[in-house]
Symmetry: C2
DNA sequence: TTGTACGCGTTATCAA
DNA sequence: TTGATAACGCGTACAA
């Protein structure tokens, strides 16, 4: 049982340094407003006491927290982890702290997390995708909390975002695939109901089909949850379709890797019998064999730019501008002629 | 320019409901202490105003935050992401919120993040591994913040942890490998300087060698940063050793996957020419070809149990007990006879 | 350059 | 069951 000395406060530091609390506060927040000697005394007292400012009190008095919240579907998905890591590094180097929360793709949970982060005093929020209950946007407007969306970019959208055009990116890949002669196409997609990125990618394929004179309704479409195992099961389903597809698009690399594994297990040659195409270009894509053809998304760049944009907005009060980042086709070895 | 109505406070709700702030506070925190009719009026007012309590003020007045901080090396590593996801789910279902911060394996950054989370009022902290400056533990004790360590388990340690015995786990695998007849061993390790898990795994191999009558100094040891590319480069280095190893242990699956890829690129057969062994059993391990032999770590179980332990401690005030979780050898296809 | 004093929004104690 | 009120620790006019 150690004798519990109480946590030191500003007042304790002030007493110890023989100055007022106001001076200590200034010494911390505006060092050049206080005389050198005074500052030294204060710093010494802070060090001796092991003082660190109370966040709650500070937030209440200053009415800002230097904290930015980020809400993602799940940390278990490498793409979000990577984007957030870059986002955080950017914030950190500008004196901001990131608070993360995850939603498991549940809109209710997202709303709850938004309220929680706002209550915690987040100065701004980073959210994934455009689609959510308008009431949430109203709430954020009412609370005067700036919001930046990411992972999607729609020039026509009213809310600013830092992201890429999911539809156009997938369309470009589909055009490539169709250009190679593929006609019987399939798509293994993440669940589209609450996920505007997934549905935009799906639209991209249909548009490419229509533009090439194919009937978009012939696309063999299967929706599934996120996961390697899920991708494998969906691949089975897709291949039972008659006529069977010669090219299988996947909404993300994880699904594609599952499909690829199942193809090997079934003795189906890739890309000999069927081509498999991913989306995201996570590390996994280069490691599987054959290496996965996919759409590269600059996750780190996106996270970094989102961080820069938010910091600038908070500092200078300038409007948040939409920023588009660009995807790129990565043609590896799972795509071949039909 | 919408007219900015101010953010509602407890006082606003009280006025609107025609009661005192004390009653509103109780209606929120101890609903059964207030009359049904009063409660309804208060809830109505809360809904109409869109009120949500100010976290800072609450923390200051209540002297707790229902928040638990977690500090990990990096979110980009799937093992931490997965463990934290489970940890968070457990906290959430008990009314606690998780705050994450990451350190990029920098002790200085970790210390900074610890102070930041404590200042934010974290009721407890989850940290990875045992090894850190004693001054940090002193600080946490002084601030009266409970700490639970994880990802490691040492029965002799003074601080409670929820984790597994890194050394014993690797030793078990090494015994298996040696038992198959391997004598020329190599280890590609994560950097051991600030990472007690990495050095424990290394010790495990040496102990198995000594126990089997081998000279532990013959272990070909290479240290590298985290990453697939880094694993590949380290594999090159290890294979130039003379005599070249017949079995290459890797400190984690990501390094192992890099080694595996490089082996394929070099035309080195696995496990024909050399065996490769990973650690962690992340999804990657089942997806590569040949599937990776590795040590399974129950990351989700570990995260969940850590969450349970911390919640119980905070609620009941009982001491934090050490909890060991168990690893398991997963013999897939990259390990064969020498 | 420094100090005084008030207010931030909530919880908790004590009375009523 | 409810209300008045004193903390909680800090930032910041304003004054000196």
């Amino acid at each position: 049982m150690t004798s519990q000395r109480p946590i030191p406060t500003l007042q304790d530091v002030a007493t110890r340094a023989g100055v007022s609390t106001a001076t200590v506060s200034r010494a911390i927040n505006f060092p050049d407003q206080v005389a050198q000697v005074t500052r030294d005394k204060v710093n010494a007292a802070i060090a001796e006491l092991g003082y660190s400012p109370n966040f709650g009190a500070r937030a209440m008095a200053a009415r800002r927290t230097n904290t930015i919240g980020a809400i993602i579907p799940t940390m278990e998905n490498a793409i979000f982890a990577r984007g957030l890591q870059a986002f955080q590094e950017e914030l950190r180097s500008n004196g901001y702290t990131m608070l993360v929360a995850s939603t498991a793709y549940q809109p209710d949970t997202e709303e709850e997390q938004i309220r929680s982060l706002v209550a915690r005093g987040a100065d701004a929020l980073l959210l994934i995708g455009y689609h959510r209950d308008p009431a949430i946007y109203d709430f954020l407007d009412a609370q005067d909390v700036p919001v930046l969306l990411t992972w999607a970019f729609d020039p026509a959208a009213t809310r600013p975002s830092v992201g890429f055009n999911n539809s156009a990116a997938m369309q470009e890949m589909a055009e490539k695939v169709i250009g190679m002669g593929h006609r019987r196409l399939a798509l293994i997609s993440a669940e589209t109901a609450q996920n505007d990125r997934a549905s935009a990618r799906c639209d991209g394929i249909r548009q490419a089909m229509t533009a090439a004179g194919l009937d978009a309704d012939t696309l063999c479409f299967v929706e599934t949850k996120y996961g390697i195992e899920e991708g494998a099961a969906a691949f089975d389903e897709v291949m039972t379709h008659d006529p069977s597809p010669t090219a299988v698009f996947c909404g993300n690399d994880v699904l594609a890797v599952g499909a690829l594994r199942r193809a090997r297990e079934r003795g189906i040659a890739v890309p000999g019998d069927v081509s498999i195409i991913g989306f995201d270009d996570i590390e996994l894509a280069q490691v599987v064999y054959p290496a996965l053809t996919t759409v590269h998304v600059p996750h780190r760049e996106m996270g970094r730019k989102a961080g820069q944009a938010l910091v600038k907005h908070l500092r200078d009060g300038t409007a948040l501008e939409p920023i588009e980042v660009h995807t790129k086709l990565v043609l590896r070895n799972t795509l071949g002629p039909p």
